[in-house]
Symmetry: C2
């Protein structure tokens, strides 16, 4: 595969990954708008078992948009490295947050805005540093990679960890510890992405006219994908059932992406050709996204705006710390005087 | 100058810039520890005009550390591009925040920790992408750069803006608008850094045995530096006098660094040899640092910890949103029920 072909595939994959996030992020808004419209009409709420949403075109548009997004995401894995595609999933959180504030007039608070900005900055850094060349181009390549001892050990470990969590840890701590079910989804998720990646390549080959249906690996990948994805959906639903969505989403993102990055590094050795600069850049971009998502989610219900903070701007007002909406100023008068003393000092 | 020599200078400059931040960050702690010890002894507080701090060795250690830090910073400009050295100043904020929490047992809140982490991540990204090669190696080079029409226009604009702010805007709005004095310091700061850069090169040349004292430019740079730095200190003190330090510091950092980056781009054309990836990387690293500093400073007096946020972790508790220390949960029961309804929907 030539350098130019690699670059072309990279940008196709990037475009698919970004548009996937836009579709998925948008689908939440469409669905919610549909459900809200039904609620205004006085239909029975979906949460109470009603099915009126099936007659609402907005709800169907949301479902279609979700399907298109998942499709684009699947296709993205066939063109670009998993190290690029997976972290960009963060953009769907951002798209949904931004669209919510426009179309559902849900106010995005200061933390939300900063979180969005950080996700974009982190994603930008990751895109700059992500490996550009695809390591596999055919099912044969994939078959070779899968029997690599490193990956065999990794896959075995993943399955053992998943089984321990499903049968030993889950029944005891699953209801109280948010990390249990999320860990199951995340480690299994690494295998799903490997299958998606392989199937994407197979479909690309099929389109190019090669016979892939006769290759046993294609069927193994299909079966693997179905098994992995159904396990994932099952335990993700359990987690969402028990815990707050705004905590499950970011933790799941972090665990899932970390697990996929690790799996990619082992299976496709995508990291092998990266210089130390690129490895550091990718990791620092990823951490920036994590912090962004954390800010976006963890402070959802906290009301802090620039206007609140500006209250304490002038020094004279320090003695009476800002105590406006939702901000409890814990600094005491004494501490503030100490600081002023020191400042006077330093300027002498 | 060979490639290796350039790399070597880059790392020397980087090490100097980082150690400068450590010294300057540490100096605040030493001074404050000294002043606190005096306060315990019952001496007259410095803020009230006492001078007992002159007998306290910790205070002198702080002063020495500050001097060493400023010296290292000056030297760093002689080795590495200003685009690298200036933004790394952010690390001193971080060093001082981290050391405070250890040595002064000032608790660093959640925002502070996230802010520190973001500053490190942003700095890392900037170091990876900053221009590595120095554009000037002699006073002759510097003289050529200074008469470049682009820089002449820029310098004239800077001086006009500074004069307008000093004589027209300052007297009217300086006492009420925090940006006025900070703008004066920042635009003048770009000229100071240019002088420091030139003088650093001159000192390097002098050490190498060249005669620089006879070069008129050396004296122009010394005079320029004295004029610029004294103006800067004057207006920075005014700003600190009137407004809250925790707002002045981050705004000053952002304005000053932006102005230096702009000046470097025009004067040294450091950006000329950078690929689009590096320009994007540098800017996204800088923005990440800005957000980090903002979080560190703007939420200094807000008490939010992971423990507070975890209160709302389990779904059953959603109906009674976390209202623990300093967190006002604005989400109402109704909104939360809506969300749950939608979630139930999506999982169907």
């Amino acid at each position: 595969m030539g350098q130019d072909r690699g670059k072309y595939d990279f940008y196709v994959g990037l475009a698919l990954a970004v548009s996937s996030s836009i579709f998925i992020g948008g689908s939440f808004i469409l669905k919610k708008k549909g459900l809200l419209r039904l609620a205004r009409k006085g239909s029975m709420r979906a949460g109470q078992g009603g099915h009126a949403y099936l007659k609402e075109w907005l709800w169907w548009a949301g479902l279609l948009s979700m399907g298109a997004g998942e499709g684009a995401n699947f296709a993205a894995y066939a063109f670009a490295p998993a190290t690029l595609v997976t972290p960009l999933g963060a953009l769907s959180v951002l798209v949904s947050a931004v669209l919510s504030s426009y179309f559902l007039t849900e106010r995005l608070n200061l933390h939300g805005k900063l979180g969005c900005l950080l996700s974009v900055l982190g994603s930008t850094t990751m895109v700059i540093h992500a490996p550009q060349e695809e390591e596999i181009t055919s099912l044969e390549d994939m078959a070779h990679k899968l029997v690599d001892p490193g990956f065999c050990v990794f896959a075995t470990l993943v399955i053992i960890v998943a089984l321990i969590f499903i049968f030993v840890v889950g029944p005891r701590h699953g209801q109280t510890n948010i990390l249990v079910y999320i860990t199951i989804c995340s480690v299994i998720g690494a295998l799903s992405v490997s299958c998606v990646k392989g199937l994407g390549i197979a479909i690309k080959e099929a389109i190019a006219g090669k016979k892939v249906a006769s290759h046993p690996l294609a069927w193994v990948l299909v079966l693997g994908l179905v098994a992995c994805v159904s396990t994932q959906i099952n335990y993700l639903n359990k987690a969402l059932d028990i815990f707050n969505t705004s905590l499950v989403t970011p933790i799941y993102y972090v665990f899932f992406t970390t697990s996929v990055l690790l799996c990619s590094a082992i299976l496709f050795k995508e990291w092998g050709h990266m210089g130390p600069d690129d490895v550091i850049g990718t990791l620092s971009g990823f951490l920036t996204i994590i912090i962004g998502i954390f800010l976006l989610h963890a402070f959802k219900d906290v009301s802090v705006s620039l206007a609140n903070l500006a209250v304490s701007m002038r020094k004279e007002e320090r003695a009476f710390p800002a105590n406006a909406n939702g901000l409890a100023a814990h600094a005491t008068y004494k501490v503030l005087r100490n600081e002023s003393g020191e400042e006077a000092e330093e300027r002498e």
